[in-house]
């Protein structure tokens, strides 16, 4: 599909003017609504594209979101410390999760991040597989926007696997 034919190419403007649009209800929506949208969409995507295809869509969507969040909210960071602090603040302010760094080897392009109280999964029943595919893409997008290099992100522990913490192994491609 050519770009001229697209209706929904992402733009930060699509988030709209929250104060203007929601003078009474405000900018926040219940977490269950977010999950309702995510898991219903995931259901349909899986039916249409299969599990791997649905995960791919989620990863890519998360990556796009991570890159756009960096460009529009986090912005210029001179070093890893600034980047981590900015991501921590942004994720806390937006209620996405509590972001922490467990290990970092910037020269090797290798990191382990964790997200507590993750909006995508915390509190979900144990289902014996990780579910935070969108977060994987989200972190990959943040890292790529920050470093200019592509990263592979894999969730190794998840609330849904009974680990109560989402842990992500991040490696430069």
């Amino acid at each position: 599909m050519g770009s001229e034919e697209r209706r929904y190419e992402f733009s930060w403007d699509l988030l709209g003017d929250l104060e203007l649009g929601r003078p009474n209800l405000g900018p926040s929506v219940g977490l269950e609504v977010y999950r309702l949208m995510q898991y219903s969409m995931r259901d349909v995507l899986e039916q249409r594209l299969g599990t791997e295809g649905a995960d791919r869509v989620f990863f890519d969507s998360g990556k796009l979101a991570g890159m756009k969040l960096f460009e529009n909210v986090i912005k210029g960071c001179d070093d890893l410390s600034q980047f981590v602090s900015a991501v921590q603040n942004a994720l806390k302010e937006l209620g996405i999760g509590i972001f922490r760094v467990e290990r970092s080897e910037p020269d090797m392009g290798s990191f382990v991040f964790s997200v507590f109280e993750d909006a995508d999964c915390s509190g979900l029943p144990d289902i014996d597989h990780t579910v935070c595919t969108y977060d994987e893409g989200f972190i990959a997008g943040l890292m790529e926007a920050f470093t200019g290099e592509e990263y592979d992100v894999k969730e190794v522990d998840c609330w849904c696997t009974g680990d109560r913490t989402c842990r992500f192994a991040v490696e430069r491609v």
């Binding site: 467990e102 290990r103 970092s104 507590f116 609330w159 696997t161 009974g162 109560r164 913490t165 842990r167």
Partner: protein
């Protein structure tokens, strides 16, 4: 007892044995000696629970020993809590490393009292560093100012040295030319003297001759004063200086072996004192130069047997221009001595001779062998 009752009793025993062993694992870290549980299903579940409990204990042991890289070996609520603990400890370790590398922006959220203490600590460290950096910036600014000041002073010294050099050349050339002309003047006066028959003219010529002598002395003073302090200090023997006095009042040297560290013009001090005695003592016949200790100082005394200095003049005789001749003799003495930290005062009794006392501080005098 019926078969059903036996089975019920046996099942109860198995359950109690399993519980006892689990309690033992929980409290002692190992099961009891008897783990024989007859019911296979109960035995299997007991072993699973025991192993999970032991795994949780192993993970706790690793974490409590600070070994954070071992993965938590199982899942579920309890292991999830251990996983949280491990993740938090890893994050704190990472933050400690960041702080050690100078990143004091680190803060911790949602860890209750620990967050509060940690954040206070990093905030305090950051504030301390800010203050240190402020202080460093102030010191750098001060250092810059000092450097500028030193540089300005260096330039001023250069300008001063240049001006001084020019003055010296001017002074030297002028002195040389003036002395030449003075010699010419004195020569003509000498040639004219036999031709002057008029008494009044002869008196005038004598005065001109005296004036020429004074001019010569002034020129000599200028030369000496210019040299003052320019050639460093040296040890000088007082006896050596006194021995070179011109004939006149007899000088009695009571300073044998005394040496003084002073400007090389020190001999001029004693020459001028001698000249002062010659000119102003009203006919002194004897000068005694003596020395005595006063604490750590050495007092050198120049005493003549002339008319002395009137009380009213004692304070002023060392000022420039005060005196009957050039008014520079005693002034130069004071300047030469002062530059070497030696004081001088006139303490004689009017009518009983002049007495100049020179106080030489410790370290500036010695007795030679």
């Amino acid at each position: 007892m019926s078969g059903g009752a036996n089975m019920e009793e046996s099942g109860r025993e198995d359950a109690l044995k399993a519980l006892d062993n689990l309690e033992s694992v929980l409290l002692k870290g190992r099961p009891g000696a008897d783990e024989a549980i007859s019911d296979p299903e109960v035995h299997e579940r007991y072993e699973k629970l025991r192993d999970q409990l032991k795994e949780a204990q192993r993970s706790l042991r690793e974490l409590s020993a600070g070994r954070l890289s071992e993965s938590i070996g199982s899942r579920g609520y309890t292991f999830g809590l251990l996983n949280n603990l491990q993740s938090n400890l890893l994050h704190l370790t990472w933050q400690a490393k960041q702080i050690a590398s100078g990143d004091l922006t680190q803060r911790i959220d949602f860890l209750d009292e620990f967050s509060e203490s940690f954040n206070k600590m990093t905030a305090a460290l950051e504030e301390n560093r800010r203050q240190l950096e402020e202080r460093r910036a102030e010191l750098e600014e001060l250092n810059r100012s000092l450097k500028d000041e030193v540089e300005e002073r260096r330039r001023a010294e250069e300008r001063l040295a240049m001006a001084n050099h020019k003055l010296k050349i001017l002074s030297s050339v002028t002195r040389h030319d003036a002395l030449n002309q003075l010699t010419v003047l004195q020569g003509y006066l000498e040639l004219a003297e036999p031709m002057a028959e008029d008494a009044k003219l002869r008196r005038y010529m004598e005065r001109m001759d005296v004036a020429a002598d004074i001019i010569a002395e002034l020129i000599d003073f200028g030369k000496k004063y210019e040299m003052l302090g320019t050639e460093g200090e040296r040890w000088a023997s007082l006896s050596g200086i006194l021995a070179a006095m011109d004939p006149g009042p007899q000088v009695h040297d009571g300073c044998a072996g005394v040496e003084v560290l002073a400007d090389p013009l020190l001999d001029k001090v004693f020459y001028n004192l001698y000249d002062n005695t010659l000119r102003h003592s009203g006919g002194a016949s004897r000068v005694d130069v003596s020395n005595r200790l006063d604490g750590d100082d050495l007092l050198i005394v120049w005493q003549d047997d002339g008319q002395g200095v009137p009380e009213s003049e004692k304070e002023r005789i060392f000022e420039r221009g005060v005196g009957k001749n050039t008014g520079l003799g005693l002034f130069l003495i004071k300047e030469i001595l002062e530059i070497s930290g030696i004081g001088i005062a006139e303490r004689g009794t009017p009518g009983e001779g002049a007495r100049f006392e020179m106080r030489v501080p410790a370290g500036r005098w010695r007795y030679s062998d």
